[in-house]
Amino acid sequence: MGGKATRVAFGEALLKVAAKNQRIVVINADLGKSTNTVKFVEKYPDRSFNVGVAEANMIGIGTGLALEGWIPFLCTFATFVTGRFETIRVSLAYVDANVKIVGTHAGIAIGEDGYSQMGLEDIALMRSLPNMTVIQPGDAIEAAGAVEHIAEHHGPVYLRLTRQKVEDVNPPDYQFEFGKGVILDAGKGEGRDLTIMATGGTVYNAREGARQLRSQGLDARAVNVHTIKPIDRELILDSIQRSGRILTVEDHGLSGGLGSAVSEVVAERGEGLVRRIAVRDFGESGDPVELYKKFGLSKENIVAEAKKLVKKD
């Protein structure tokens, strides 16, 4: 696998935005080595806090700093921070605190550590909160763009990042555009048979799946949905207009993630079919590639599910 983990791209981008914006501070919870904030801490010791293994405290402290005008980035594993949901709900989101929650180790792709360390319900939780923005970049350049954007964006943000390396899906001159899904291989497929919408670590497989489907005569297009809340309604409705079919793909639990967000828009519209590929159980330990196979996030399964969806009317 080539590419770069989005958590690594985050650590680099953080240094850039922190140099420009002196109000950015970082709160760690004993996982700085894993979330890539170590360089920030070295460079800006006065703007760094390590609260220890104490994620609820981290959320409160971040909120307090934000209420006083600082821009805290809370950096730890996705599951540990979003797992302290009720603290985020009342202390942070309710008051629209300008806090950036950075959750790394998204999904089953973390592999061998197993379910307890996997962020699998985090999108669902964060998406359920008013005021909260949810962003999940699909490659390194997009992660960098997202970090620049959220540093300037006022209000609570949840940024979801991968532990594993992800292949580049965007061109080198890519510009991150908040709230807008990105059509991959634009111009190569019209999506007259279906649109595949993917996010985060699964975007590459979705793009490869769409390419294979096109080579087999189906007009499939792949879309990278980096902003999950607010969701790009326009692009979803456009996709439904083209084919009536959307296949969603995500390394997250079945309930409440991208698939749910897309389904809500389609259901409200009252026409069109959605099929969801997501993690349909607790995760488990294993090699990430084997896990993607087992849980249906491989390119092969994306292709198979796409074919089922296209036949289904």
């Binding site: 760690n28 004993d30 220890g52 293994v53 550590d113 197993g114 307890s116």
Partner: protein
């Protein structure tokens, strides 16, 4: 001081074998947490090979003493002890962290109907185990059972608020059949505990919360056994044993080095580690 009748030399030999199993499992898995597994080896050995009442051939025996590994990332030491006492075949250790294995990267008791014997519950998100242990201790009292409940916590883990919510409650409930052991290896994930968020005065904190406190050298198996006996003799309140340990104990290049919190040895390092463990004077 209660006299402990135990074959200390035999137990020392067991700690050596468990350390080797830990290294083998982690080398084979290619990932995992050696430091805190090695530091807890004498504690886990003292419990499973001496103190605890349990029946590996009848793992769900209702009167068994309970053991909760709250610092779940250190499951290699638990799995090694379970295999060695006969809960499951020793060969299974090499399936650690592989797809389909019962030996998950953090403890998981399995789905209903396919329980992994010896693993009481799921841990891996730090700070949660002591509350579960309290629940089991309350249940034992309700059912008029005499089992004891042990919970092993990390010192970094003791930064978690839930630990202190639990710590406040156990003395209030008079749970003298509950015993916490803190593996005080002084290192957490990123750094030394002292550089991250100091716990000191640690003993005084537990005492202030109403616990009986015993401090021991966590690598001296006789001291560990004695402390476990004394804990049982304390009435009316729970006991915490603060076990002074060395993270990575037994492998010189891992000892007291935060880099070996969550990194598996490669084959060559694994071999060197095993040779060192074998060469150590017991």
């Amino acid at each position: 001081m209660p006299q402990v009748a135990a074959d200390i030399q035999h137990l020392k030999k067991i700690t050596q074998e468990i350390r080797i199993d830990i290294i083998r499992m982690l080398t084979e898995a290619g990932s995992g947490h050696p430091g805190g597994s090695l530091s807890a080896t004498e504690i886990v050995t003292g419990l499973f090979f001496h103190k605890m009442r349990h029946r590996p051939d009848d793992p769900f025996w209702a009167d068994r003493d309970r053991f909760i590994l709250s610092k779940g990332h250190c499951c290699p030491v638990l799995y090694a002890a379970l295999a060695k006492t006969g809960y499951f075949p020793k060969e299974e250790l090499l399936t650690l962290r592989k797809l389909g294995s019962r030996l998950q990267g953090h403890p998981y008791p399995g789905r209903p109907g396919e329980r992994l014997p010896g693993v009481e519950t799921a841990t891996g998100s730090l700070g949660q185990g002591l509350s579960i242990a309290i629940g089991m201790a309350l249940a034992g009292r309700l059912a008029k059972k005499t089992y004891r409940v042990y919970a092993l916590l990390g010192d970094g883990e003791c930064q978690a608020g839930q630990v202190w919510e639990a710590a406040m409650l156990a003395p209030k409930a008079g749970l003298d059949h509950l015993c916490v052991i803190v593996d005080r290896n002084k290192i957490q994930n990123d750094d030394f505990v002292e550089n991250t968020l100091s716990l000191e005065p640690f003993r005084a904190k537990w005492e202030a919360f109403g616990w009986h406190v015993i401090e021991v050298n966590g690598h001296d198996i006789s001291q560990v056994l004695e402390a476990l006996e004394k804990a049982e003799a304390v009435k009316g309140k729970p006991t915490v044993i603060i076990a002074d340990t060395i993270k990575g104990k037994g492998v010189s290049f891992m000892e007291n080095n935060p880099d070996w919190h969550g990194k598996a040895p490669n084959r060559e390092e694994g071999e060197r580690a095993i040779q060192e463990i074998l060469a150590a004077r017991l």
